[in-house]
Symmetry: C2
Subunit: 512 residues, 2 copies
Amino acid sequence: MNGAESLVRTLGASGVDTCFANPGTSEMHFVAALDQVGGIRCILGLFEGVVTGAADGYARMAGKPAATLLHCGPGLANGLANLHNARRAASMVVNCVGDQATGHRPLDAPLTADTEGWARGVSSWVRTAANAAEVGVAGAEAVRAARTSPGGIATLILPSDTCWNPGGVVAAPLPVPPAPMVAPHVVGEIARVLRRGEPAMLLLANDALRTGALAAAHRIAAATGAQLWAPHGNRRIEHGAGRFPIARVPYVVDTAVATFANIRHVILVGEPRPPVGFFAYPGKPGIMTPPGAEVHVLARPEQNLLAALEALAEELGAPAVPSPAGSQPEAATGAVTAESFAASLAALLPEGAIVVEESVSFGRGCYPACHFSPPHDWLAITGGAIGCGIPLATGAAVAAPGRRVVTLEADGSALYTLQGLWTQAREGLDVTTVVLANRKYAILLREFANVGAVPGPIAHTMMDLERPCLDFVALAKGLGVEAAQAADMAAFNDLFAASLRHKGPFLIELAI
Amino acid sequence: MNGAESLVRTLGASGVDTCFANPGTSEMHFVAALDQVGGIRCILGLFEGVVTGAADGYARMAGKPAATLLHCGPGLANGLANLHNARRAASMVVNCVGDQATGHRPLDAPLTADTEGWARGVSSWVRTAANAAEVGVAGAEAVRAARTSPGGIATLILPSDTCWNPGGVVAAPLPVPPAPMVAPHVVGEIARVLRRGEPAMLLLANDALRTGALAAAHRIAAATGAQLWAPHGNRRIEHGAGRFPIARVPYVVDTAVATFANIRHVILVGEPRPPVGFFAYPGKPGIMTPPGAEVHVLARPEQNLLAALEALAEELGAPAVPSPAGSQPEAATGAVTAESFAASLAALLPEGAIVVEESVSFGRGCYPACHFSPPHDWLAITGGAIGCGIPLATGAAVAAPGRRVVTLEADGSALYTLQGLWTQAREGLDVTTVVLANRKYAILLREFANVGAVPGPIAHTMMDLERPCLDFVALAKGLGVEAAQAADMAAFNDLFAASLRHKGPFLIELAI
C-alpha cells in the first residue's frame, strides 16, 4: 500500500467523508487513491479559495471536518485568506497540501516554496510527512487536531514521494479529547459578579451560539439583567422563531462604544477578548467596552461552553424562560433599500435555511430582521477576508442537503471567489445567491470619510466598480448558473421565491 | 506631513509612477495621499492576484518596479501565488501592504494575521514600518531593494498609524548598486572549458535573454559548438525575426533527459542551477542533465550577464554572427490542432507584440513557431503558480502602451484570476486574450498517466471542466470585455486579426 492509499483509508476510518479539492501534479497519487479506496466524496473547486472556504462552510454545518486537497505552496497560498476566516471561526479543517518530493525539494524547482511557513499562520497543527510509513498516523493526528475543541485547521503537507512510495500504514482513529469543563469555582465567581447587579454583558462565541447554550444564556440574562452579545462575525448562530435571539456587536466603532458605554463587566464565553474594533481609527478606542470595565472569563474558547452556561444558570438559580415572541415582517415592495431588502428576506426565508452573510455594508439589517423568521442558521464572515461567502455557501450546501442556502453577497466581495458558483452548478447545490450590486466598495467610501479627506479622482477610482459595470447575470451564466436581475423589491420577491423552488443554484443580481 | 504622504512622495522621487492596488480600510490614508500628491497612476484590480501579477508584468516590460497596494495579511495572501511567480522571474516589485495599527495589533482583531511571516517566502526584503517618521526612508530602501540586481520583491508593511500620523519625512532616492561584474579569471576558466570541444550547454536566464546578450551567446555558440538553452519559464525573451533565437528547456522530463543526454558541461549564466524537473517522478532523475555533467558558473543571477557573455565571446575570439534567417509560417485553416494554432499565431503576430504564455499543455509549440515572426517579447509563467497570464498581460500592457499584448491562456488557469479582464477593460488596454478551451485540466490527465493508474470517476471529476461548461464569452462580457468564440482556424484567424485592430481588450474562446 502506498502512502496515499494509507492516508485515504485513515481519513475514512476517522470519519472524513468529503474532500474539497484543487489538485495538481504532485497530488495525482492521492487522487488515484480516492478512486481505489472509495467512500470519500470529492468536490472540485476551480480556485483554492473556493476549496478552503467550502471546507469552512462544511465544518460549520456538519460539525466535523472535511479534507482539502491543495497543490504545493502557491496552491495553499491561494487558499490562505479563507483559511484565515476558518481559523477565526474555529472551524475544523484537515488541510492536505501536496508538495515537492523529499529528494526534489533541495533542487528548488520553480514551484518550490515555503509551504510550511505559509501554513503556520492559519493552522493549529502543521506537519510535513517524512515518508510513506508515517502518512497514515499523521492523517489520524490531523483529524484529531482539527476536531480538538474549539476546532482548528490541521495542515498535513505531503511530499509526493510520501504518497507514491510503498510502506503506507493505515492508522486507527485517535480519540478526540472532550472539551474541558469549566471549574465550579469559576462559575461561582462569575455568579458573584453578576449578582452585584452592575451593568454586565456576556460575550458568546462558537458553540455558545447554538440553541441550548442560548437558552441557558437567556436564563442568566433574565435572572441578572446581563446583556447578551455575539461578536460581529460568528461561526454559526441558530436563529429564528422559537429560538433565543442574540444581538451582534456593532461593526461601527462609534455605535459600539455608545452601545457599551455603561458596561461594567464583560464576561467572555468562548470568545478570547472583549469586543475590539475591526480596525483602529485615529483618536478612537481599540476596545469598545469602557476602559474601566472588568473582563472576566467564564469559559475559554476550548472549554465546554454549553455546560458552562448551564452551570452558571443553575448557580444563579435562574429559571427557564420561554423564547421571546415576535412577528415576521411582511415582504416589502417598491424601491430597494437596506430596510426593504431586510424585510423581504425576513418574510420569505424558508424554514431550515442557511444564511451566509457577506453583504458587508448593505445587509447589516438583515440579521436582526430575521429574529422571528422560521428557524434557520446564520453563518457570517469571521476573519474579515472578503471572498468567503460563495465558498462558505458551497460547503454548507454539501453538508446540509435538503436545506436551502441563501448567500447575501456584496458585489465587490463576490468577485474574489466567484468560481464557487461553478462548483454549485456541478454539484447541483440548492443555493440562492443574492448579489447586492451597489457597484462600489461602499464600505471603503464610508471608511474614507473617517480619514477626514475629500475623495479625489484616485480615491474614487479605487472604490467604484463601474467603468465597466459588472454583469453578474452574464458571469453566472458563464459559470453554468441560472441568474436574473431585479431592480425593485417586487421583482426581487418573485425571483427569490422562485429560486427557493429551483433545483440547484440560482443567482439574483439586485441593483441597490 | 503624514507618513502616507511621505511615502507617496518618496516613491515618486525614486521613479515609481504606477501603483496596482486593491486597498482596504487600513490603506485609506495611502489612497488619500495618492490624490494629494499626484504623479502616480493608480490601477484597481478586483482581486489581489491580479494586482501582484500585473506588477510582475509591468516590471518585466518597464524595467523598473511598480508599487502594489494590498490590504492586511489576507490581502497579501491572495497575492502570494503571483508574487511567487514574480520572485521566480526576479521581477522588481515594491510590495506595499497596509496592516493593523501598531497599537491595535495586540488586540488581535479579526483581520489580524502574520503579514510579515507570509511575506518572507516571496520577498528579498521585508520591513514593517514602526512609525510615521521612518516610512519615507523605508520606502526609498524598498525601491532600492526591488531594483538591486537581479530584481526582487521588497515588501513594506504599513501599520495604518504609520500612515496617518504626522512626522513623515520624504526620503531621497537611494543609489542602486550596479550589477557586479564577473571576474576575468572566471571568464577565462569558462573559455578553457569550452575550448575542450566537449558537448556543452549555456543555460541563460533573465537579462541574458535580451537581444544584446543573445547576440554574444550566439557568437560563443558559433565559435565553440556549445548549445544555448533558456529555462522553460522566463521573465522575458526578446524574440522573433532579426533576433537570436534560443530554445527553452523541455517541460517533459523524458524529453529533456534525452535532449541533454550527451551534455558534459552545463554553464550557468544567471540561472542558479542546472535544468531540474518541474516535478519529481518515481524512478526519473530530478536533474535533467546527465549525472556526470560538470556544472560551471559563468555568472550568478545578480551579476552583469550581458558583460559576462560579451567578455566570454571576446576571450574566445568569437566573431559576430548574423541573426539566423528563417521563414514565418502561413496561417493555418481547418481544424484546431496544436500545430495549426501555433502556425496561425506565428503568421499573424504583429510587430512589437508582447506574448504572455500560460497555455500550459496546448501551446507549447507556439514559441518555436514564432522564431521568425516580427520582433516581439515573450513572457512566460516562471514559478508554476497558475493564474499569472491575465494579470501579467494587464501589467505588460500598462508598461508598454501602443504595443499589442497577446495572452495565450489555458481555460483552467484563466479561472484563477479572470478578474484581470475587468482591469483591462477599465484601463482600455490593448490585450487579445486567447482562451484555449479544452475543458479539462489536460496537463493533469497527462500527469495522471505517469502515475500508472487508470483514471477512475473521481480522477475524471478532478480533471474535467465540463458539467457545466465554462462560457468564456459570457464571462468576458460580465467583466466588460468584448469576446467571441472560434471553433476552427479560419474563424480564429479572422477574429485574431480583427482583435489587433480593436481598441482595448478582446477575448477569443478557441475550442480545442
